[in-house]
Structures are given as structure tokens and as C-alpha cells.
Symmetry: C2
Subunit: 452 residues, 2 copies
């Protein structure tokens, strides 16, 4: 799916680099590294274990360090920043865009932030302080201040002459921003309209006004969805007074989209969405240990249920052989439902008007598949242990557990969300607890009744 030439080339470069590092040809390596595209270097750093990472960073010229930092994930960024002294940090991040700079500053100790801000000129400091006044995961935290603004009353000819006074327009400039005298956002002047229109007409006559600017407080996931729904390349950001603060561009939104999409996958395994693949043992182990500890509690809960039925197992030891089947099938079926619902929620598909239908369908699917595989398991169990009763018991337990799994898989994430708990993180633990407990309880409980 995702192995491809780019990756191969990155890994090829990395192979070459590893060789070069091992053979000690540092000069050559340094030259190669500094001539690669910055995003490629960032990818190589992300793809390296900690020690190689440190060596790579040493080999990168200090004047391009700042261009590489924004392309690294937060975790890798902070790892690298922690190994630099304040002067190096100040030198590296000079000239970065306000949103990138704000992201990096937020990872540094307060004293370093102070020093960096003091080293800037007044206007730059004001800009960065404005971006930093919004949380990282809001429109304000995502925005840049590199907007080109025009007044509605001037002609396109004047706009064209004004633009020609620039050496270069900022990257990803698809629109000029039309603002009032008081900096209130009025509309957009797309370059692709400017270029085809009669130069003698005014901005007001061609500008787009059916654009809703994004408020600086809006959540970054919402910004991402706006970009996706409306095929945006950039979007204006305003304050509560409607004044233009800056713009958000699609390159920064892509990171949000990827992190949001990774969130469900990683959270379901108790991991963070920006988990560093090559995080050192000392960081990886404690994080994972906590997740294992939580799961251990649920495993003990299941054991406590089994413990209630020691007598029955003692009588019919075949029950111990078969009982994991019921629990495991419940876990698998429940995880399918849970995954569908969590992804549906993440995509904004599920609301109060359709969750009922969804729960019903899941119950039906659970019942139908429960019935289907219950019969298969029953036949196998009967033949295996030459015991009709055990077949009937496992079939009934399987059906009960698969219906329960469907219900839990569909309802738990909705409930957790209402309680403001991340369903992707808590859902899978909660689900396994339910399917284990119900699986063992129904199977061993029915057996106790049958073999009493």
C-alpha cells in the first residue's frame, strides 16, 4: 500500500548514509545530507534510531536546521531540542513562519522562550505572541500571518501594480484578502479571478463574499473538515470582532488530517497518535506498561468470573478447553463493531438521528453471525467431546456473547463520548472486559445449570 519509490529512495539514502557513517566519510555524508530536500532529511531523521538521529543532526548545517524542525513530529522535535543549547535554538529557528515557530517554542522551557522572544524585533515578536496566545490545536495556533490584503475600492490594475512591488508572493497564495479600513475581513480575491478579469474594474466587483472566515478559537479537527468539505487551499482566520488575523494553509492542515486519522488506530492500542516509531526504550517501556496494567485488571475480572465456577470445571474439564473460544469470538465481533462505530464517529457520520438504526443493524449482524458460528462450534464440540449437552451450551453462550458484543461495541463508544472520555482509547479495554466477563459467565453459568 504505502511502500513506494519515495520511501525506497529515503531508505536507500538512509542505507547509503549508514554505510557512509560507518566507513567514516563524514564530509561526503554531510554534503549529501545538506543537499537533500528538507522534508526528505526530516523523513530520514524520523526513520532513525536515537543514536543515528543524534549523528544526523550533528551533520546538518546549522543554517538549515530551522527548515527541518517543522517537518518533524512533536515527539522527535522535543527530543532534538532537548539536546541543543539556547543559542543553537535561537539560531536555528530564526526566520521560521509564526505557526511553526509557535509549535517549537511550546516545547521549550519558559526561560528559553523568553530569550528567543527577546532576540526578535518588535513586529515579529508581536506576531508570534499572537499565534502563541491560541492553543496549538486551534485555528489560531495553525495560522500564519503572511497574508496579502487589499481594499475593496481599488481597481485590479492597482492590485497588479501593488503585487509587482513584492519580490515574491508567499507560498500557497491562492487568494488575496479583502479587508476594510478597520481590518475587518470582507472577502477573497482569488488570483485565478484576478488574472482573467478586466484590469479597470474594482476589487469589490470581482471578490468572493460567500466565504465564512474561520474563528481563531475553532478546533483544528474542525478546520481540517472545512478544508476537506470545501476543497480549500487556504482560509482566512478572524477574531471575535471579525478582524483578519492571518490564514491557514493546506500544508498545515494535512498534518492535522493525518494525526486525526491515526488517532483511532493508535488509541485503540493505548498509544499516542504522534508516537515516535523509534522512541528509545526508556520512553516506550513505561507508557506501554501502564496500558498493560489497565488490561491486567480486566483480565483479573475475567478470572474472578471463572473462579466462581471452579466446581463445574472440576466436574467437566472440557469446559476449560472450550471456554476461551466463546470469549475470544465475542472480542473479535465486538472489535469489528467498535471499529466501525469509532471511525463513523471520527468522520462525523453518527448522530442522535441514526445511532438507533446503527445499533439495530449491529444487533442483527451479531445475532445472525452468532447463530451461524454457534452451530459450527456446537457440531465441532459435540464431535470432539462426544457430548451433546456441551454443544448446546457453547452454542447458546456464543449467541449470547456475540449479541452482547454487538451491543457493547455500538453503545460503549457513544456512552464514553457523552462522558467526554475518548472512545478510541477507552473503548477497546471496556469492550474486552464485557466480552470476557459475559463470555465466561454465560458459558460456565449455563454449564453449571446443565451439569448440576
Amino acid at each position: 500500500m504505502s511502500q513506494n519509490a519515495e520511501h525506497k529512495s529515503a531508505n536507500y539514502n538512509l542505507d547509503e548514509l549508514t554505510q557512509a557513517l560507518n566507513s567514516g566519510t563524514f564530509i561526503q555524508t554531510r554534503r549529501m545530507l545538506n543537499s537533500l530536500p528538507r522534508t526528505e532529511v526530516a523523513h530520514m531523521i524520523e526513520s532513525s534510531p536515537p543514536k543515528t538521529r543524534a549523528v544526523l543532526w550533528q551533520l546538518i548545517n546549522s543554517d538549515i536546521e530551522g527548515e527541518i524542525l517543522p517537518h518533524l513530529s512533536d515527539e522527535v522535535q522535543s527530543q532534538i531540542l532537548s539536546q541543543m543549547d539556547t543559542n543553537e535554538v535561537v539560531a536555528a529557528i530564526e526566520g521560521l513562519e509564526p505557526d511553526d515557530l509557535a509549535d517549537i517554542l511550546q516545547q521549550l522551557p519558559n526561560q528559553v522562550i523568553r530569550e528567543v522572544l527577546d532576540s526578535m524585533d518588535h513586529q515579529d515578536r508581536q506576531r508570534i505572541e499572537q499565534v502563541m496566545s491560541y492553543p496549538e490545536d486551534t485555528a489560531g495556533g495553525l495560522m500564519n500571518t503572511d497574508v496579502i490584503t487589499v481594499r475593496p475600492t481599488i481597481t485590479l490594475d492597482v492590485v497588479a501594480r501593488y503585487l509587482r512591488r513584492h519580490d515574491e508572493l508567499p507560498e500557497m497564495t491562492d487568494n488575496l484578502y479583502v479587508v476594510s479600513r478597520r481590518d475587518e475581513f470582507i472577502g477573497l480575491l482569488p488570483l485565478r479571478k484576478l488574472l482573467v478579469s478586466d484590469p479597470s474594474i474594482t476589487v469589490r466587483e470581482v471578490m468572493n463574499t460567500d466565504v465564512t472566515p474561520i474563528h481563531a478559537d475553532v478546533d483544528d479537527s474542525e478546520v481540517a473538515q472545512l478544508f476537506e468539505r470545501h476543497d480549500l487551499i487556504s482560509a482566512p482566520v478572524v477574531n471575535t470582532e471579525g478582524q483578519l488575523l492571518g490564514r491557514i494553509t493546506i500544508d498545515d492542515v494535512l498534518d492535522v488530517i493525518r494525526e486525526d486519522a491515526d488517532h483511532s488506530l493508535m488509541s485503540m492500542a493505548g498509544l499516542g497518535e504522534d508516537e515516535d516509531t523509534f522512541s528509545p526504550f526508556s520512553k516506550a517501556a513505561p507508557r506501554r506498561a501502564i496500558w498493560l496494567g489497565i488490561n491486567l485488571l480486566t483480565a483479573f475480572a475475567a478470572s474472578a468470573v471463572i473462579n466462581l465456577f471452579q466446581g463445574t470445571i472440576d466436574k467437566v474439564v472440557a469446559l476449560a478447553v472450550l471456554m476461551p473460544i466463546v470469549a475470544s469470538m465475542g472480542g473479535v465481533a465486538g472489535t469489528q463493531t467498535l471499529t466501525v462505530v469509532i471511525r463513523g464517529m471520527a468522520m462525523g457520520h453518527i448522530g442522535s438521528n441514526n445511532s438507533g438504526w446503527l445499533i439495530n443493524r449491529e444487533l442483527l449482524v451479531g445475532f445472525a453471525n452468532g447463530l451461524c458460528w454457534a452451530l459450527v462450534v456446537a457440531v465441532v464440540a459435540m464431535l470432539w467431546f462426544n457430548d451433546t449437552t456441551i454443544g448446546a451450551i457453547i452454542a447458546a453462550a456464543m449467541l449470547i456473547n456475540l449479541v452482547t458484543a454487538a451491543l457493547a461495541g455500538a453503545v460503549l463508544p457513544l456512552l464514553l463520548k457523552k462522558m467526554n472520555i475518548d472512545p478510541a482509547l477507552a473503548g477497546s479495554v471496556a469492550l474486552t472486559t464485557v466480552t470476557d466477563v459475559v463470555g465466561f459467565l454465560s458459558f460456565l453459568g449455563l454449564a453449571t445449570l446443565a451439569y448440576a
Copy 2:
């Protein structure tokens, strides 16, 4: 994370719509529906159970159906198309962009495709046939042919006059494409450069030539990574002769990025990445049943292992109570490793040069956390059953299984990939089989030795 105002508004609209439908005010509903942004309507359709979906589609004016179809997922598209007759389809898809049209045509029976193509004029047919000659998941399948080309020898002033002859430039036009007399791609002329440059100089003097065009055969995931790495809005697509065929724009790439990111999450639960949240029972049930069947086989494998130790369980029934803990903790630890590795692979982080380091770290983490929780479990088991031996046994089994889980979680996806099997799909089943079998085998095996 992802619940937000946009969603709320979509669901709010959907609530209103449901009410309107129920109260039978169709005219009002129809008016509202047809005035909403197309992407919003598509989102409402995706968020509806099958029956509501059919009603919604009936209420949509036929002249905007074509604008909504491209925003639907493949599965929902084909569901809706299957309910339309050929004339309706032909009317709906008139005027769509070639890439969207090709996607939709590929879902139709051959005879309908023929009819649609016959209904087009020569040039349009040629364009669409060109896009359809490439698989949907390649650069050729993603591209559109709405490029504006210029020659390197003309002046920017001539370019400006040429552009003014257009009523409108295509959406997402950030660059003009510079081609030779034989349509070979030479370079890009960014609008943001055109606007700031002296009108009297030639295209050749300002164009970007350090752009590598994308070959039409390139995989769509690779295209997505190129866009992400190089912050592209659009990119040229060429054939093997280097001739410009069309361009790919970021809006189409976003869908690829989202699907790729969803792939791991969905596949690990045996689901497709474009699974329709509201697929009808008749579609959802059989798909899930297959996955359950595969998992049933692995559950039977675990039971077969337990079956070997019936005698030991008969002697010490506490073993039956504790044995699921060992298997379950192995499954959880292994899933964590598996998730980290599968995501690392999807992001192109893992190659031959760093997989060794990764496996080592995972083994270390597995050993450390195995040791940590083995001690906890041992103490609990000893106190619970007042039996030192059982504590020692479960601790040893836990350690063995967590190290095995780490090894399996790291190595299985790498192996599966080498065998060209999707690691996200097959990895979790293979992993659970290993952790269940090794969990029961080590725990019950050690117990058999101890209690012999």
C-alpha cells in the same frame, strides 16, 4: 477530537430533514436540500441509513446529482448508481471532471459505460478514455486534463493576455505548465511568480525547472506522499515520453491520504478502508462472518493446546482460572508492538537498516514489562490460591509470552510484507494465534512439569 460545529451542523440539518420527511413537507425539504453545499449533502447521504438515503436521493434535483456523486465513497456511490437507470446516469454525470467521471464509470456495467461514452463528443471521450486507461489507484487515474499550458519562448505579457481570454481559470490552478512544441513537460510557471515579475521577460526566464513530473503509472499512495513531502497543491502527470497528460490536485490527493490512513485501522479488524458506516445488514453480515470464521480457527488452535493439558487442569483447577490472564496480556502487548510497526511501515519509516534496532527495542520492552507485571501477577496468584508454585509458574509463563508477543508483533508484519500479504489485515489474526498458543502452552506446560 472530531465532533465539531461542521458535523453538528450536518447532523442538525439531518435532524431537521428527518423531521421534515416525517411530517411530509417534501417541497420545503427539497428546497433546503438543493440549496446546501454539495459536500454537505454528500455528508448527509453518507450519514444516513439506506432508506433515508434513497429518499434523499429522490429529493435531489437531477441537475446537481452529478456534483454530489464524486463526494461519496465508492461503496455509497455504487449503491446509489445501482438504483438509477442508464438515462439518469448519463444525465447526472454530464460535465463531470475526467477523474471523477472515470471513478464513477468504473462502477457501472460495461454496457452502460459504452452508452455513456457514445453520448459524449469526440474530445471529451478521448479525455475520459485516457484517464480510464490507467487504474483508479495510480497517478493516471487521479489526474484531470484541465491544464493551462504555455510555451517557454513567449513573454509574461503575452501570457497575461492569453489568460484574460479565459472566462475563468480551473479551480486549484496554482501553476501554468510550460511545454515544448511536442507537448513535453519543461517546467512550471507559478501564478505567484507571474504576478510579481516584469511583464517583458519570457516564460523561460522565470519558470521552475527543478520539478520532477509524476509518471502516470505511479501508485496513488506514492503520489500522496510526494504531495505531503513537497507541500504541493498540484503536480504535472506525464507519460513515458515525458509528454504532459494532465495534473493532479490536492483535493483528490486528500481522499487518498485519508483512505491510506484508515487502511490500518480498518484492516486490523478485518474491514475495508472505505467501509460504509451504514451499509445494509445484507452486506455487513457476510463480510464480518468471514472474519469471525478465520478467528474461530485460531480459537480452536488455542483450545487444542489446552486440550493437551486436561489432566493437569483436572488436578489443579486454579490453572483454568488463571490461564486466560497469560494469553490476554500477551495479546495486548503484541497488539501494541504490531500497531507501532504497522503504522511505522505505512509511514515509510521502517526499512532493512533500522528494523533490527526496532525488533531489539521491542524485545527489551517486552522483557521489562513482562518482568514487571509477572511479579505483580505472581504475588496476586500466590495470595489468591495460597500456592507459591502457581505464582512462580504464572510469572514465568507471562514473561515468556510477553517476549514472544514482542517478537511476533515486530517480525510478523515484516514477514507478511515480504510475502506480499497485507500486514494490517493478516497481522492481528496471526499475532493472536501466536500469543494464545504460546500463552496456554507455556503456562499449562510449566504447570504440568511442576505438578507432575
